[in-house]
């Protein structure tokens, strides 16, 4: 498939914004949805809508089948050993909260430590702060260098006997840095510490295999990989999930309930209390089918080309400074322009029909590190082309002209 034609699969991209054909470069915030994902939602609600599990009627069986089939598709996509290791959640944020509360909190004692990094999204900071506060434990931070890479030497220094858990992002949402997670996971395991990887910004860009990377937990959000909002995945190793207590109580997460005693369900249902986002879960499977059709390695190549193209074009503009210059980067570029606030850049881009994100990107510690209030961020996806980047560059030049 030619990447030039991919835009045709995304109906939303066939429109004008402020009189210009839309150029959507806010993919790290959320991606657009291909036709097959949109059709899957329409199909589910017009033909199969029904509650899953325990229904004897046809629709319920059909919905259950599609829901569980999607779980298998996801398990295959990430190289999980079993679909029981795949838990449907609302998104990466809920997955992290689930692990913080159901796995880490019960292990945590006063003065124990949890390690995260300086480049985490707030979603991978706040849940740990909350349980540390409750248990009087400490949060330790792996610092970054000025290129936006983790200081692994420091990581080896802060890891110690008090460390009870580690949670690190695979790819930084505001710097684009791809972290050497295999190495980090190996170090964690050598120290007999379990580790979670926040893959919200990695899953749509890189080939990822759970057996190969050996993470204990991995999570991502559907909406950043061409699926709807409100659906995401928590992967956990079967033997760990089986030991864990539930996250929320309710229907579907139990085997039997009496007022004297309730027996919890097996995994993965134990962690899926209440009626889930069935349509979203099925549509996530369809998004993965779509990605498989194009091939994740082709996507990685295409996006890496876009990243290099955009980086070299931006570097040619004097007043621009790229924030995040890691050796290994995914298709995310944060930048600042001397003398122009990112918000003004964002408004001027929008007036050209170009959608970028401006602000702190839910990573205030990174902004503090670089001593900037915000950045402008362009992030690329399968449907972007070098023409989109040319339009971005042209608009940036106009922006600099206005504020000169």
């Amino acid at each position: 498939m030619l990447f030039e034609d991919i835009k045709d699969n995304f109906p939303i991209l066939d429109q004008q914004i402020n009189g210009e054909k839309i150029v959507y470069l806010d993919n790290a915030a959320t991606t657009q949805k291909p036709k097959n994902v949109i059709n899957s939602l329409i199909n589910y609600y017009s033909k199969n809508n029904s509650n899953i599990h325990r229904g004897v009627h046809t629709l319920s069986q059909k919905a259950t089948e599609d829901y569980e089939e999607s779980r298998k598709t996801i398990a295959n996509f990430i190289g999980a050993s079993s679909s029981k290791e795949i838990i449907f959640v609302r998104g990466a944020t809920e997955a992290i909260n689930l692990i913080a509360n159901s796995y880490v909190k019960p292990l945590l004692k006063k003065d124990d430590e949890i390690i995260i990094s300086q480049m985490e999204h707030h979603a991978n900071i706040v849940p740990w702060q909350m349980i540390c506060e409750e248990k009087k434990a400490k949060l330790k931070i792996i610092p970054i260098n000025k290129n936006g890479e983790l200081n692994l030497k420091k990581f080896n220094e802060i890891i110690n006997k008090k460390t009870k858990f580690i949670s690190i992002n695979h790819v930084s949402n505001s710097l684009g840095t791809i972290n050497p997670i295999k190495e980090i996971i190996k170090t964690a395991h050598q120290n007999k510490i379990k580790i979670m990887i926040d893959g919200a910004q990695a899953i749509q860009h890189l080939e990822i295999n759970m057996n190969e990377i050996d993470a204990d937990f991995y999570c991502f959000s559907g909406h950043k990989m061409y699926a709807p909002t409100g659906i995401g995945i928590l992967y956990g190793k079967k033997e760990i999930l089986e030991q864990m207590g539930p996250y929320q109580g309710g229907g579907d997460m139990i085997k039997s309930v009496t007022f004297e005693k309730t027996i919890y369900n097996d995994i993965p249902n134990r962690f899926e209390a209440g009626t889930p986002n069935i349509a979203g879960a099925i549509a996530l499977g369809k998004a993965i089918e779509y990605l498989n059709e194009i091939g994740i390695s082709n996507i990685a190549k295409h996006e890496s080309h876009l990243l290099n193209y955009a980086t070299s074009k931006l570097n040619k503009i004097n007043k621009i400074k790229i924030i995040g210059k890691a050796k290994e980067k995914a298709a995310v570029i944060s930048f600042v322009i001397d003398g122009i606030h990112p918000h003004d850049i964002g408004t001027i881009m929008d007036s050209h029909g170009i959608a970028i994100r401006t602000g702190h990107h839910c990573t205030q510690p990174i902004m503090d590190f670089y001593n900037i209030p915000a950045t402008a961020r362009a992030s690329f996806a399968i449907y972007n082309t070098t023409k989109d980047i040319d339009k971005l560059i042209e608009a940036i030049k106009k922006c600099i002209e206005v504020f000169k």
Partner: protein, 146 residues
């Protein structure tokens, strides 16, 4: 003609580049910080009130062109006005940048922010310094646009 011409007028760009009254005010009687968590903008307002009237005013902080120009023009506008006049002006200014309706007083130079109403995401930028000003006059120390 560009799409943004109604927002980034020459006067606004000028006040962004050369903000007026952009310094500390040591003998101030009122002070408040304004914070826009959305974009990280922070503006502090210092006011010297004398017999119920603004004798002097200054601001410090960092922000986008709209919030900087708004703060700068605000400081020029409210000198020698009393609290009631300022409150009325803010009410009209708020209407100007949100819907353009029910403006009861002459807004003078503030009228140049009329274009903001077409950019709902930027209303908070235009009103940040005003919120800080009102907080200062009402004796609060901090305010946010959230």
């Amino acid at each position: 003609m560009n799409n943004w011409d109604d927002l980034y007028l020459e006067v606004i760009l000028d006040h962004n580049k050369n903000p007026r009254n952009n310094h500390e005010l040591e003998n101030h009687t009122h002070h408040a910080e304004g914070h826009n968590p959305l974009c990280g903008d922070r503006i502090s307002m210092n006011i010297l009130m004398d017999e119920g009237v603004v004798k002097d005013i200054s601001f410090k902080g960092s922000g986008c062109a709209i919030s900087t120009a708004s703060a700068s023009i605000l400081t020029e506008t409210i000198k020698n006005k009393n609290q009631d006049e300022i409150r009325n002006l803010f009410k009209d200014f708020h209407n100007l940048v949100t819907n353009g309706k029910e403006i009861e007083h002459d807004l003078g130079k503030l009228k140049i922010f009329e274009g903001v109403k077409k950019y709902p995401a930027r209303v908070k930028c235009a009103t940040l310094s005003w919120h800080a000003l009102m907080a200062a006059l009402e004796g609060e120390k901090e305010t946010t646009t959230e």
